[in-house]
């Protein structure tokens, strides 16, 4: 609708556009959400939560950079990337289907979150952000590109859109790796320190869970192990351009073989959820 001025557009009556907080419109409104044949609904829900929680939790960490980024341009870029990931999270949590996106985000306990631990690590400095974003987006782009062939048309459509978005995110992070790695001796050291913080959580990215294995067989999910070679190639290419060694560090194991995908998280996760969920838990059912 066209308005003569901005004031008119925000004062129009009978308007739900200011219903922020909880109570958003269903982002899959009108989309056929029937499940593909031969797929266990609980598996599909768990898988959507894995992919959705990765996006939701990292989006939250990126949002913590608002007003903290080193330059205005990066402030805007990081916020935009956070928004894209939040959009992916909304659709994936909605696709999970058993509860609403708000219930999944705000009323689940820590052990019910299925994100990889890489996404929940504390905010860190800008080099850690760069290292984490580069690692995460390189991995996620490889996952999403494969997911475009999913037998679930909703996941395939979300992935097709996500590939376009994450391509920009990965380029942004990779260019910062090059700029810092091939910058001054100081920026290079900081970049290497950034990689040292996140690299122990890289191994977890390629370990398939039971749910993923079953959904790979059903033609719906992606085997994360299948992305490792592509991931290593991209990392090698960017590190060569940045003139830094390819990072290497011993993996930090989960507990008895269980990590993020099983709901076993690092200490940082509880603090993150406390902030993410506090308003919704204080005022359940509120919309404003």
């Amino acid at each position: 609708m066209s308005f003569d001025n901005a004031y008119e557009s925000i004062t129009e009556d009978n308007d739900s556009r200011w219903a922020f907080g909880t109570g958003f419109a269903d982002p899959l409104e009108g989309v056929d959400t029937s499940h593909p044949s031969g797929v266990d609904s609980a598996d599909l829900e768990a898988y959507c939560l894995m992919l959705g929680d990765d996006a939701l939790v990292l989006s939250h960490r990126l949002q913590e950079w608002s007003t903290n980024a080193p330059e205005l341009e990066d402030e805007v870029a990081i916020a935009n990337i956070a928004l894209d990931l939040l959009g992916q999270a909304r659709l994936l949590l909605t696709r999970a289907g058993a509860r609403s996106e708000d219930e999944y985000a705000f009323f689940r306990a820590e052990h019910e979150f299925r994100n990889v631990r890489l996404t929940e690590l504390p905010r860190g400095d800008f080099a850690e952000l760069t290292a984490r974003l580069f690692v995460f987006t390189t991995w996620r782009l490889a996952i999403l590109r494969r997911l475009t062939g999913s037998r679930d048309p909703v996941l395939a459509a979300i992935a097709e859109k996500g590939v376009k978005e994450v391509t920009y995110h990965r380029d942004y992070a990779a260019r910062w790796v090059v700029r810092l790695g091939d910058g001054t001796a100081y920026s290079r050291d900081r970049m290497l320190e950034g990689f040292a913080v996140v690299w122990p959580y890289v191994g977890e990215l390629f370990v398939p869970s039971d749910v993923e294995e079953r959904l790979v067989s059903a033609g719906v999910g992606v085997d994360p192990a299948s992305t490792e070679e592509e991931f290593r190639q991209v990392v090698a290419e960017v590190c060569a351009e940045a003139r830094i060694p390819v990072p290497d560090a011993a993996a930090i194991p989960g507990v008895a073989g269980r990590a993020g995908r099983h709901g076993v998280h690092t200490e940082a996760m509880g603090y993150l959820l406390a902030e993410l969920q506090s308003v919704a838990r204080t005022h359940p059912e509120a919309s404003w």
């Binding site: 609708m1 066209s2 308005f3 129009e12 308007d15 739900s16 556009r17 219903a19 958003f24 419109a25 982002p27 899959l28 409104e29 009108g30 989309v31 341009e73 990066d74 805007v76 870029a77 935009n80 990337i81 928004l83 894209d84 990931l85 939040l86 959009g87 992916q88 909304r90 659709l91 782009l141 490889a142 590109r145 048309p153 909703v154 395939a156 459509a157 979300i158 097709e160 859109k161 996500g162 590939v163 376009k164 978005e165 391509t167 920009y168 990965r170 380029d171 942004y172 990779a174 260019r175 090059v178 592509e230 190639q233 991209v234 290419e237 960017v238 351009e241």
Partner: protein, 165 residues
């Protein structure tokens, strides 16, 4: 009986909340307008999955059609095929340029294999103000996810560029 042609004409006049100089139709966001059980069904597609303007677009379509005499309207989301800047019409691209936003070029071909990295900055976006062909990228992300910030060395002005996606 719903007059689908005139309902479509109404829907096509609804403008984008963030780029009000363009209609949803010119942006390629408006997909279909058809009748189902006496109801007008309008389908739209998000430019980005996190696009915060989807709710506003839905409201604006309902209001415009309601005022035009179509009380029974449903707006549906369509995710596939994914929106691309290639769907912006030629008229839409011309309007973007008139508004000082460099229109997108051809969207990159998404190969079946791994997505190639782009580590260099494009310098071939033409300045929408003075037409200078060689401009500088300031940031690949602008005021919204779909726009990048650039500067023209000839006229010295900053401008936005709608990114190919």
């Amino acid at each position: 009986m719903v007059n689908v042609v005139s309902a479509r004409a109404v829907a096509e006049r609804v403008t984008d909340p963030e780029l009000p100089m363009l209609t949803l139709a010119e942006l390629g966001i408006l997909r279909e307008v058809f009748e189902e059980d006496g109801k007008v069904i309008v389908s739209i597609t998000p430019t980005y999955l996190g696009c915060p303007a989807m709710d506003t677009m839905r409201d604006d379509l309902l209001h415009a059609l309601g005022e035009a005499g179509y009380p029974d309207v449903e707006v549906r989301t369509v995710l596939a095929p994914a929106w691309s800047t290639d769907w912006i019409t030629e008229r839409g691209k011309a309007k973007l340029a008139d508004a000082g936003i460099a229109p997108p070029g051809k969207a990159p071909f998404t190969a079946k294999g791994p997505v190639p990295l782009t580590l260099t900055v494009r310098d071939d976006v033409t300045c929408p103000r003075c037409g200078h062909a060689d401009t500088t990228e300031l940031s690949r992300f602008g005021a919204s996810a779909c726009r990048a910030l650039r500067r023209c060395p000839a006229c010295g002005e900053p401008f936005e560029h709608m990114k190919e996606i």
